[in-house]
């Protein structure tokens, strides 16, 4: 995992049990996991379901 160039996440809403985590919680979580590895981490602001992303 630490050999990837960067990480983009396409959904801003996670479900955890009965609670729907807020954006700040998600960002903190991903930051904690990936930040110390030095990997750039970002989110798509617009839903991938409403657009197209080129993979490859």
């Amino acid at each position: 995992m630490n050999e990837i160039g960067s990480l983009l996440v396409g959904e801003l809403i996670f479900m955890d049990g009965q609670e729907q985590a807020g954006q700040d919680v998600q960002i903190d979580l991903v930051h904690e996991v990936m930040g110390d590895l030095g990997i750039p981490v970002g989110f798509l602001k617009t839903s991938h379901r409403r657009s197209l992303i080129k993979l490859g």
Binding site: L7, G10, L29, I39, P40, I53
Partner: protein
């Protein structure tokens, strides 16, 4: 431009195929030659049609009609080593199963809305934007990104898909090498603790 809309998953009994038909109408109104291909019941038949369609040179895009869990059923019926991809696959979440081995073979894939979304989810301005992207080609410059640790993000050489499927395919013959690539994850309705473990 010619777009073939493909039923990789069987229609669910409760599915409203009117959305797919309406999507065809939107595509036609947008200036595309579009049609929906036959809806076979057996995964082997659907895999054969998938291979035939993505290999066609007279087609610009092969667009998955709708999402569904049955994309994985096609994997044993496709020889990815000999697969010829001569147009661009447009796929959605569940089709990460099929997109990853295609990416591994060196062919690009467009990820996001399924064809049904044109009528089920998107408004007119969003449809026009997708049509523009299909006409002009997609280089990801249209994506609006939020960096959360201040480091520069890049959308070149993206590989990825739905996190659950990525985790299932890691280490298998279907997953491309992630080293040096930029990882895109659709993280949809999954507990945060799973992401933490991943």
């Amino acid at each position: 431009m010619r777009i073939e809309v493909l039923n990789v998953c069987r229609s669910e009994p409760q599915a409203n195929d009117g959305y797919v038909q309406k999507a065809i109408e939107f595509l036609s109104d947008g200036g595309f030659e579009a049609q929906i291909l036959p809806d076979y019941q057996h995964p082997e038949e659907r895999a054969r049609l998938f291979v035939e369609t993505v290999s066609r040179k007279d087609v610009d895009y092969t667009w998955i009609a709708r999402g569904g869990i049955e994309a994985a059923y096609l994997l044993p019926h496709i020889d990815f080593l000999s697969l010829k991809v001569n147009n661009t696959l447009i796929e959605a979440s569940d089709f990460t199963h099929l997109a990853l081995p295609i990416l591994k073979s060196g062919f690009p894939v467009l990820y996001g809305a399924d064809a049904r979304s044109l009528s089920l989810l998107l408004d007119e301005s969003e449809r026009k934007e997708i049509f523009r992207l299909l006409d002009e080609g997609i280089d990801n410059s249209h994506l609006d990104l939020l960096s959360i640790n201040g480091r520069k993000l890049t959308t070149e050489a993206l590989v990825g898909g739905t996190l659950q499927i990525l985790l299932n395919l890691l280490g298998t013959q279907y997953c491309p090498d992630l080293r040096g690539r930029n990882l895109y994850v659709e993280h949809h309705y999954i507990p945060g603790r799973i992401l933490f473990r991943s």
